[in-house]
Structure formats: C-alpha cells, structure tokens
Symmetry: C2
Subunit: 255 residues, 2 copies
Amino acid sequence: MQVVAVSHPKGGVAKTTSAAALAGALVRMGHRVLVVDLDPQSSLTLALGHLPNRVWPTLAEVLQYRHGLEEAVHATQVKGLDLIPASPKLALVQRELHGQEDYTVLRARFRSWLNQSSYDYVLLDTPPGQGLLTLNALILAQQVLIPTQPEYFSAYALRYLLQTIRWVRLRFQPLLAYQAFLTMYQSRNRAHAWIRARLEVTLGPGLCRTVIPLDTKVREAAIAGLPVTHFAPKSRAARAYLALAQEVFTHEQQA
Amino acid sequence: MQVVAVSHPKGGVAKTTSAAALAGALVRMGHRVLVVDLDPQSSLTLALGHLPNRVWPTLAEVLQYRHGLEEAVHATQVKGLDLIPASPKLALVQRELHGQEDYTVLRARFRSWLNQSSYDYVLLDTPPGQGLLTLNALILAQQVLIPTQPEYFSAYALRYLLQTIRWVRLRFQPLLAYQAFLTMYQSRNRAHAWIRARLEVTLGPGLCRTVIPLDTKVREAAIAGLPVTHFAPKSRAARAYLALAQEVFTHEQQA
Ligand SMILES: Nc1ncnc2c1ncn2[C@@H]1O[C@H](COP(=O)(O)OP(=O)(O)OP(=O)(O)O)[C@@H](O)[C@H]1O
Ligand SMILES: Nc1ncnc2c1ncn2[C@@H]1O[C@H](COP(=O)(O)OP(=O)(O)OP(=O)(O)O)[C@@H](O)[C@H]1O
Ligand SMILES: [Mg+2]
Ligand SMILES: [Mg+2]
C-alpha cells in the first residue's frame, strides 16, 4: 500500500487533473485505488462525478471524528476507484486545526485504517498554497508527486514546496520521496522548452522523463466526471498519464 | 480613491495576471496605481520584476507592525505603478491571524493611510482559496473583480466566493460590489461558449461584457516583469484588459 500526495503551492497547475488521471492509470494497471480530496474547493470530487453539496459524509466529517472512514468512502463511475470527497466545510476544519497542539489529524485518522484496507494506492489531492491540510497530506504520504506547469510562477514556487518537504523529512518522515513532472506542455513553445531544460538542471533525477501534453480532452473529461484515462483512453494526455504511472509507480525513484 | 480586490478561490484563473494588467491599463488611462500582493507565493511580486527573497520590507513586515506602509512601497518598471510586495513569510502572518480575536489587520493598517495617499486606485491580488488574507482583502475593498476561466471547476467554485461576499456585506460592508469576467477565453472552443452562456444567465449584470482572450504574450510579459499592457501594448490581451478597465472603472456597476 503506497500513499502518494499530489501537491504544488501554485494554483491551476493540474494537481486535481493528475490525481484523477494517475488514479485512472493505476486502475488500468489492475490496482485498487482510493483518492482523497483535501481541497475545500472540492475539484477532485467534481472531477469524479460527485457534487460537493450533495455527497455525504465527506472528509470534513471524518476529520471531525463525526463519521468513520468506511462511511466516507464513495464509489465513482470507475470500477476499482473509490473517493473520499471534500466539501466547503473542510475550510472550517482547517481553521479549527490552527488552534490545536497536534494538527496531524490526517495521519491519526488514516494510518491504521489504511494499513488494514485492501487498496494498493491512495492518492491525496491537495489545495493550492501550503496550509495545514496540505501539510497533513505530506506527513501521511510516502511520496509526493509535483505537477509543474512550464511557466514562470509555477517553476519559481517549486522551491517553497521543496523547502517544506525538507522540513517534513526532518520532523516527521525521513524517507519522504518526491518527483516533479511537467503538465500542459506544448512542445512547439520555446518558453516551455527553456523552462524544461532549467528544471532538468535544478531537479536532476527529481524530474520525470514523461511529460503531460496540453490536451483539450482533459477539460472535457472533467465535465463528464471521469479521469481522462477512462473518458478518452486513446488521447495524448491519457497515454502520457499511463506512461507517467509506469515511470513513477513501478520503480520508486528516490529524490 | 478606489480599493479593488481581485479574487477567485480556484487556482490558476488569472488573478495575478489580471491585477497586473488592469493596473497597467489604469496607468495608461492616466491614473496613479498601487498594487498589493497578498499571496505568500508572491506571483504578483515576480510579475512586476521583483524577487520575493530580495525585495524588503514586504507586506508581511507591515502586517506585523514592524515597518510603516511608506517603507514597503516599491517602484516597478512602470512609471505611475507602485507595488507592496509579498514574501513567503506572509504564510506565517496568516497563521498568526488565526489566534487573534480581530483578524481584520489589513483594514486597520491601510484604511487611514490610503485615504491620505495620492493613489487613484489600489488593487489587491489574493491567493487561491478563502483564507484569512483573502477575507482581509474583501473587507478592505469596495469592489471585487472575479477572473473566471471558462472551465468546470472555476465556474463551480464561483458560488463559494459569492457566498463569502454576501457574508462580508452582512458583517462589514453592505456596499461591496462585485463583477466577474472571463479569462483565457478561446472563441472557437464550444465548451467555453457554453460556460459563458451559463454564466450570463446566473450572473446577469454581474458578468462583464469584455472577455480576455488566451494570448501567449501574457506568459512572456510575466518573465519580463511587466504587465502585458506595457510588454505588448498591441496584443489582443492588452487591448482586452484596456477595454475591461474602461468597462469596470468608468461607471461602477453594482452587482
Ligand atoms: N494536460 C492538460 N491539457 C489541457 N488542460 C489541462 C491539462 N491539465 C489540466 N488542465 C486544465 O487546467 C485547469 C487547471 O487544472 P486543475 O484544476 O487540475 O489544477 P489544480 O492544480 O488542481 O488547481 P487548484 O490549484 O485550483 O487546485 C483545469 O481547467 C484543467 O482542466
Ligand atoms: N489571457 C491569458 N492568456 C494566456 N495565458 C494566461 C492568460 N492569463 C493568464 N495566463 C497564464 O495562466 C497561468 C495562471 O495565471 P495566474 O498565475 O495569473 O493565475 P492566478 O489565478 O493568479 O493563480 P493562483 O491561483 O496561483 O494565484 C499563468 O501561467 C499565466 O501566465
Ligand atoms: Mg485542484
Ligand atoms: Mg495569483
């Protein structure tokens, strides 16, 4: 059982899209997968066909110790892929965590339950920024996948997440590994090639070889409530996410 | 003097790009403008040519009462456009706000100083999500501009911001106005036209007629540290932001 956080402090770099698509790829590879939505904006919940104001209970009720984990697991349109949804109430839960001495509630709630569950992979989708929900995800996870858009703000903000990973390694988990990968990549765009070359230098083995191309099928998949791997399996994005899952999950690269 | 917040809880919808470009447009219209970066990721600081780990003092020192506002104002490459930069330390300031009875520190620090300053417009760039820094911006501002990408997650998350605006109107400022506008719009994209039509119905006069097109000049402007209105004044995005500034700022539409 492998717990993987998908995180990047910059907004709109394809964290949610990647969490859904990698989960879809892992299901295609024959694994049983659980995804957890930690974003009060609930994009992953929407991306997998649920409405955050209807589906219940959600992660908020689990973190408030109002419901068990089992009850918050919901099926998706993809067999073998389950979801613990988010809701706007998570913002309240995050605010309440600030007052607490020990804010590592995700680990406290999930750790022993996950070890006994039958999932092969658990993917955690995090909100933008570096709030306490994101920190909780990094403390529970064994591996962080970092979607990075080949543009200035996102490449620059990467350093903030790498600093946080170093801090989590010191305080909580010395073996927390990370790998970044490029998303929404356009091979004919000179600025994209330039940023890619720079990231290869600064990240070395920490940057995946597989690159996710810009592909409008991704946006259509979100409206259909399906990962792009299941909405348009022959699309360039679906094939790239399958290749990425094989690169990242077959031999865990330490970085 | 008009204080305007640029906000949307979804990440990557062009909040920062719009704050810089609208400020550039207002300068072209002859106004003196101050922009304030409230995002710990400091994208607006980068977008206007400063490095968050070098420029000092920043908004964090102002909100901690360590430095006066005057000292935190920095010039940009655009004459008539000044910046109060952000830094990663803002994340710490935001965490500290959680413990306080009265978290409306932005209004406390800025209100009387702004009334005496010679700026015509002050634009506040907010981080994604709905944390206390964003809430502070909505409490100080008289108008909220809401950049909205014509895609599923961003159109859905709009409701969360509108709820927050209604709450701020009840608790703090009954006259807080808002207007949404479409960004990164591709006229030949059917899903974009569909989402636009839906937003016209749900928002009515709250949706601007001016639409900002997808334009690669925007990304190049960010690397050059200039608003797109000054980097590529004849570009489609620059002309659209000028038209948007004229639509929004000449006759304040209440919504
Ligand atoms: N490969 C791709 N091709 C085209 N569009 C994409 C691709 N990946 C993501 N997108 C689109 O980019 C937008 C941002 O993606 P997404 O919401 O997954 O990012 P995020 O990092 O999760 O955002 P947030 O910071 O708000 O959580 C969405 O509209 C999504 O559909
Ligand atoms: N009209 C446009 N055409 C092309 N690219 C654009 C346009 N507007 C914004 N972008 C690009 O989209 C990305 C996201 O924009 P930006 O960072 O301004 O969004 P944001 O809402 O401020 O993100 P965050 O939620 O992280 O604060 C940036 O790479 C930016 O250059
Ligand atoms: Mg997301
Ligand atoms: Mg921004």
